[in-house]
């Protein structure tokens, strides 16, 4: 498969954009979405590699990553809701009770 590097680069780009999102955004949900984007970028890598290598390990991995993403989404969003209930905000800059 000749285009492996293309996929890998795309996934690298997506991964980086996700990183930038995590680093620059304030909204916790958006940050979480950016994390999801990073995970997806990795998924793309896995699938591309899996296809290239000719074994399915990578794709199975992707499957599990999706599960993990789902589980994390459930817990994460629950945490955000709990936090929102306390703080009336979902801005990460408001997560500031504990420092120093």
């Amino acid at each position: 498969m000749e285009n492996l590097n293309g996929y890998l680069i795309i996934s690298a780009i997506l991964f980086s954009i996700g990183t930038i999102g995590v680093l620059t955004r304030k909204n916790a949900i958006v940050i979480f979405m950016c994390v999801e984007m990073m995970l997806n970028a990795v998924n793309l890598t896995f699938v591309a590699l899996s296809r290239h290598l000719g074994n399915l390990d990578g794709q199975v991995f992707v499957f599990f990553v999706m599960t993990v993403a789902a589980a994390e989404a459930a817990v994460g969003l629950a945490l955000m809701i709990a936090f929102y209930n306390n703080k009336e905000s979902i801005d990460v800059d408001d997560v500031n009770l504990m420092k120093w």
Partner: protein
């Protein structure tokens, strides 16, 4: 042809990904993300992994993103939340940029293992992607598969504990 298609999809994917990061409104971000996911699903199809594409659309674009959007709605977050400080954006972008450079170099300079697996496009077409995945999952990767069940159970309990109004 395929390359062109790949490039177009890539463009869409990247643009939508950038939009995820830049959109003020979380809803817009979420929608852009869904678009990105669809692009990824397209890639998966191109990579002879139709099952993955389907799952991608269903689980990610469908389930997870719906959950996210739902939460956004639920929390009714103000659209115009205060802007991030510019230094944060600059620093974040710099790091992201370097991440990209690093990863790009890794991709270009790294040596991928020699293809050794049994699967080729034909075999996949012949046997069906779904079956292959399923077979792997229930034989070789049985344990991880079982673990996911625990993972999901934990997530459920967690979500209940954390978000239920009264326990």
């Amino acid at each position: 042809m395929e390359t062109l298609f790949f490039l177009i999809i890539s463009l869409v994917a990247i643009v939508s990904a950038i939009l995820v990061v830049t959109c003020r409104n979380p809803i817009n971000s979420a929608l852009s993300l869904i678009l990105t996911f669809f692009c990824l699903a397209t890639y998966y199809v191109m990579l002879d992994a139709p099952f993955m594409a389907a799952v991608q659309v269903m689980v990610y674009a469908g389930a997870i993103m719906v959950l996210i959007v739902f939460t956004i709605m639920l929390l009714n977050i103000r659209v115009n939340a205060s802007k991030s400080q510019s230094h944060k954006i600059v620093l974040g972008t710099i790091i992201g940029f370097f991440t990209l450079i690093n990863t790009a170099v890794i991709v270009f300079k790294g040596r991928v293992a020699i293809p050794s697996g049994p699967l080729t496009g034909e075999i996949i077409k012949q046997q069906g992607h779904t079956e292959l995945i399923g077979r792997e999952m229930f034989t070789t990767f049985l344990l991880p598969f079982e673990i996911t069940s625990i993972l999901l159970l934990v997530a459920i309990i967690g979500a209940v504990i954390l978000a239920k109004k009264k326990i």
